[in-house]
C-alpha cells in the first residue's frame, strides 16, 4: 500500500514535469542525458564565451552572473537574434568586439541555449520558452 503510493506520486511528478517542459528538451534529455541547450552552446557560443562561460579577457565578455544573462528576457533573446555591437561594461570590464547575430538558430534552439546559459555557469534564472523567443522574433 505504502509502496504503491510512492510509485503513483513519482509517476505523477514525472507526468507533470514532462508536460511543463517542452517536448524536444525532454526527449533528447532522455536519450543522451545532455541538455539540448548545451549542444547549441558548444556548437555556436563556446568558441567566444569559452567552456567555463568566462569569455576572453578584453574581447568577449563573460556570461557568468551578468545583468544581460540574468535580467530582462527580451533583451537577452534579442542579443542572440540581432547580435550586439556597442561597447558594454560587464562586471567592471569594457568589451568592444561585436557579437554576431544568431538569427539562423531556430526558436527552439535559442530557447534551449538561453535556458541552459541561465541555469549553468553559476547562473540561477528561470527558463526561456520557445513561445517567448517566437514573440520577440515576430516583434522585430
Amino acid at each position: 500500500m505504502y509502496k504503491s503510493l510512492i510509485v503513483i506520486t513519482t509517476c505523477l511528478i514525472l507526468i507533470i514535469s514532462y508536460q511543463s517542459l517542452n517536448a524536444e528538451t525532454v526527449s533528447s534529455n532522455i536519450i543522451t542525458g545532455v541538455h539540448p541547450g548545451k549542444v547549441v552552446y558548444e556548437t555556436y557560443c563556446l568558441t567566444c564565451h569559452q567552456a567555463d562561460g568566462y569569455g576572453v579577457p578584453g574581447l568577449n565578455p563573460p556570461i557568468v552572473k551578468t545583468e544581460w544573462v540574468l535580467g530582462d528576457k527580451n533583451r537577452l533573446i534579442n542579443i542572440v537574434l540581432k547580435g550586439l555591437n556597442t561597447p558594454i561594461n560587464v562586471n567592471g570590464q569594457t568589451y568592444r568586439n561585436p557579437m554576431p547575430s544568431h538569427a539562423f538558430l531556430t526558436d527552439v534552439e535559442i530557447a534551449n541555449v538561453l535556458t541552459y546559459v541561465r541555469s549553468n555557469f553559476g547562473n540561477k534564472a528561470s527558463a526561456i520558452t520557445t513561445a517567448e523567443v517566437q514573440t520577440v522574433r515576430a516583434a522585430k
Binding site: L46, T47, V56, R96
Partner: protein, 425 residues
C-alpha cells in the same frame, strides 16, 4: 673648433660618468629565487616588477630604463610607466608614470619617446633628467579607430621611417562580420584604410593617414612587428582569422579550426599584399588557400596561388603580439640575429585546449629561418594546460632588448615585467 673639442671632451667625460654610474651588472643582478616562468637551460629570470596593470609593449633605453605602455591607466591614472633600477639587482626601485592616454605602441627614436593611442602617435622629448611630459608632439593624428583590432602599435626604422599597424576591424571582411552565411566583400573595402601597415615620417609633426603611404596590405592585424637592422627590412606576424569551424562547419572540423589558419611571419616588402581576407595559409598542406568567404573549401587555392608565403608558419590562433630581432652579446651565438616572438595565447582553438602563451625563438640568417622554431620561455599562464584564456595568470605581450643584451618581456594580465639573463649554468 675649440667648441668641437670642448664638446667631444664633454661627451667623453659624460660617457665616463655614465659608465661609472652603471652598476656592475654581471655581479649584482639577483635572479628570482622562486621560479615564476620556465626558461631554456643556462638562463635565469628576474621579476623586475610584479603587477603594473594592463601592460602592452615595452622599450628599454641605453641606460636600462624601461618604458611600459599601458592599455588601461595604472593606479596613478597614467598611460606610460617608467621603471628604473638604481641598486643594480635588476628589480625596479623607482616607478614613475605619465601620459594621459592609453594604448599599445611605444618606441625610442633619437631623443624622443614615441607612444601611440588607438588613433594618434605622439612623442615626448627625453631630457637629461628624464621625460618632459609637458612637451607633447603629435606625429600622426586621426588614424581610423574601430574597437576591434584597434591597437596602433609602432616601429621606427633607423632612417626615421615610422611604421604603424592599422588592423582591420573585421574577422574576414564579411558583409556582416563573424556572421554565419554572410558573404565576403569583394574587393574588401576595408583595405583602403585598414588591414595594412602605413609608413610615416617620425620627424614630422601633425601628419594624417593620407600623408603616409600604405606600405603593405592584406594584413589583418600586425600587433607583432619589428625592423631588422641587419637585413634592413620590416617583419610582421599578423593575427590570422578566427572561426573557420563555426562559420563553415561543412569544410572545417573543430580539430582543423584549432590548427588553421597558420600564423604567418612575413618579411615585408613595400607595396605587397599578403592575402587577407581572400587567402590564408595552411601549414599542413604548405599552401596559400582561398578563404571560404570567397569560395574556398579548405582545398582550393584559386587566386591565392600567387600570394606571398610566410618565411615560417605557426599553428593557428596563438596571437603573436610582438617580434624582436636579437642583436645582443649576452645570449649564446645561436640567438644572435634570430627572432623572438611573444605569443599572447589563443582563445579560438576552443573546444580544444588552447595554445601559445609562451615566447618562441627562431634562428635566422639573411632574412630566412635556419631551423625550426622552439619554445624559449613558457609557464606564464600557470598550470600545464589552458582551456580558457581567463585562467591565464600572465600572458606574454611585449619584448625588448636591454643595452647589455638582456631580454625583457611584459605580461598583459597582471603587468609583470620580466628580464631574462644568460648565466651559463
Amino acid at each position: 673648433m675649440t667648441k668641437t673639442i670642448y664638446s667631444i671632451g664633454f661627451r667623453i667625460f659624460s660617457l665616463y660618468l655614465m659608465l661609472y654610474a652603471l652598476p656592475n651588472a654581471a655581479q649584482s643582478l639577483k635572479p628570482d629565487a622562486k621560479k615564476t616562468i620556465i626558461v631554456q637551460k643556462g638562463f635565469d629570470v628576474i621579476t623586475i616588477v610584479p603587477s603594473l596593470g594592463r601592460a602592452r609593449h615595452i622599450t628599454v633605453d641605453s641606460n636600462g630604463t624601461i618604458y611600459v605602455r599601458m592599455n588601461e591607466y595604472n593606479i596613478d591614472g597614467k598611460g606610460i610607466v617608467v621603471l628604473k633600477d638604481t641598486d643594480g639587482d635588476g628589480r625596479a626601485d623607482i616607478i614613475n608614470s605619465f601620459g594621459d592616454f592609453t594604448g599599445t605602441g611605444i618606441a625610442l627614436y633619437k631623443n624622443y619617446l614615441y607612444a601611440s593611442s588607438d588613433s594618434v602617435v605622439y612623442r615626448f622629448p627625453l631630457t637629461a633628467t628624464g621625460i618632459d611630459a609637458s612637451k607633447l608632439d603629435t606625429i600622426v593624428n586621426g588614424l581610423p579607430y574601430n574597437p576591434q583590432h584597434g591597437s596602433k602599435n609602432i616601429v621606427i626604422a633607423p632612417d626615421g621611417k615610422l611604421y604603424v599597424n592599422i588592423g582591420a576591424p573585421s574577422n574576414a571582411c564579411q558583409e556582416v562580420d563573424r556572421t554565419k552565411g554572410s558573404k565576403g566583400m569583394d574587393p574588401c573595402p576595408l583595405l583602403e584604410t585598414y588591414g595594412g601597415i602605413w609608413q610615416f615620417d617620425a620627424n614630422k609633426l601633425n601628419q594624417k593617414q593620407s600623408d603616409g603611404i600604405r606600405y603593405a596590405s592584406g594584413l589583418r592585424n600586425c600587433v607583432a612587428m619589428d625592423w631588422d637592422i641587419l637585413t634592413k627590412h620590416l617583419y610582421a606576424l599578423p593575427h590570422g582569422r578566427d572561426q573557420l569551424n563555426t562559420l563553415y562547419p561543412e569544410f572545417y572540423s573543430n580539430e582543423q579550426n584549432a590548427e588553421l589558419p597558420s600564423e604567418e611571419l612575413f618579411q615585408i616588402t613595400k607595396g605587397t599584399s599578403y592575402g587577407w581576407p581572400y587567402c590564408y595559409f595552411d601549414h599542413l598542406q604548405n599552401k596559400k588557400l582561398l578563404s571560404p568567404e570567397y569560395g574556398g573549401d579548405s582545398k582550393i587555392t584559386g587566386r591565392c596561388d600567387t600570394m606571398p608565403k610566410p618565411i615560417i608558419a605557426f599553428p593557428g590562433h596563438w596571437a603573436p603580439n610582438d617580434l624582436l630581432f636579437y642583436h645582443g652579446n649576452m645570449f649564446p651565438e645561436k640567438y644572435k640575429h634570430g627572432v623572438f616572438i611573444a605569443f599572447h595565447g589563443s582563445w579560438n582553438r576552443a573546444p580544444l585546449k588552447q595554445g601559445g602563451y609562451f615566447v618562441a625563438f627562431v634562428p635566422m640568417k639573411d632574412g630566412k629561418p635556419t631551423g625550426t622554431w622552439e619554445v624559449f620561455a613558457e609557464g606564464f599562464a600557470g598550470g600545464k594546460e589552458i582551456t580558457s584564456p581567463n585562467d591565464a595568470k600572465h600572458r606574454p605581450m611585449g619584448l625588448a632588448e636591454g643595452p647589455d643584451g638582456s631580454l625583457y618581456i611584459s605580461d598583459s594580465v597582471a603587468g609583470t615585467i620580466y628580464r631574462i639573463i644568460y648565466v651559463n649554468k
